[in-house]
């Protein structure tokens, strides 16, 4: 057996830490979903001065009735986004955003665990083993499944958030107030992260075939005395 470098061992530990962090993140999201925290009535903060595309802007959460209104000002006051009943927006983010984040976290747990096991095999000098081939195939398949599921989940979240904003948000551009059009019949923006992940999945699946052929060569070599 040839000497194995320290790199696979290092990667194994890095991916172990990442898998644990992702699992903690998933657990935290589950806890948040169970507890279901609410924005207390009349919550307020700001105005906070923030940098918006190199220009000063402000962010304010102002108490209004039993809820709070959210205002973001950018480009020296010429662009304003006003959201009434910001508590409702937070509810939307909680009920639609948290499940999407949970899917991401669970995917990361699976991905890092597969990578950890793959690098454990590489560290042992067993790169071309049946288990390694299955792990690489699993990586590719999980990337493809993730890209499809995340595209659907992101669209679901964006649609819910946009529907709320269309009813409760007012955008003011240079003194002209505009309401967002109703979500029916318009093309919804969606996450752009899906496609690269999908093609990465295809690439990793193709790579698994290289591993499979490597395994066949190794088996043949092992039976050459």
């Amino acid at each position: 057996m040839t000497a194995v470098s320290v790199l696979p061992k290092l990667f194994r530990w890095v991916f172990t830490v990442f898998a644990v962090l992702a699992a903690i993140g998933a657990l935290a999201i589950c806890v948040a979903m169970v507890i279901d925290p609410k924005l207390p009535a009349g919550t307020h903060f700001g105005p906070l001065t923030v940098d918006m595309m190199g220009q000063p802007g402000t962010v304010v959460l102002r108490a209004a009735g039993g809820d709070s209104d959210f205002t973001v000002t950018a480009l020296r006051g010429s662009l304003t986004l006003f959201v009434e009943k910001a508590g409702g927006l937070i509810e939307v983010v909680k009920h639609y955003g948290l499940p999407v984040m949970l899917i991401y976290s669970l995917f990361l747990v699976i991905l890092f665990d597969l990578l950890r096991r793959l690098f454990r095999n590489v560290g042992r000098g067993e790169s071309f083993s049946r288990q390694s081939v299955y792990l690489v195939q699993g990586l590719g398949a999980s990337l493809i499944v993730y890209s499809l599921v995340s595209a659907f989940a992101e669209s679901w979240f964006v649609h819910a958030a946009y529907t709320y904003l269309a009813q409760h948000a007012v955008v003011t551009v240079s003194g002209t107030s505009l309401r967002l059009p109703a979500p029916h019949g318009i093309s919804m923006p969606h996450g752009t992260g899906g496609s690269p992940v999908f093609f990465s999945g295809l690439l990793v699946l193709a790579l698994s075939e290289v591993f499979r052929q490597g395994l066949a060569l190794k088996n043949e070599n092992d039976l050459t005395v």
Partner: protein, 73 residues
């Protein structure tokens, strides 16, 4: 595999054990077992040479072509 390795027969004639043969040929007992049980897919000339030297025989005594009956022979 139509090529058969008659290691068993030659070992019996020479009164040599598998462990002894592996030691003298310079390959592991696991690899010698692969050869003996005809699981090997190929044999190196260097291994064949060592086997012939230790067993004092010709390659033809160790290797035998057995037609498999599917038209290959």
């Amino acid at each position: 595999m139509p090529i058969k390795l008659n290691l068993d027969r030659v070992m019996l004639e020479r009164q040599i054990s598998l462990t002894e043969l592996a030691d003298q040929v310079g390959i592991t007992l696991a690899n010698m077992s692969i050869l003996k049980t005809s699981k090997a897919k190929a044999i190196r000339f260097s291994t064949l040479e060592a086997l012939c030297r230790v067993l004092q025989c010709q390659p033809g005594e160790l290797l035998e072509f057995v037609p498999s009956g599917d038209g290959e022979g």
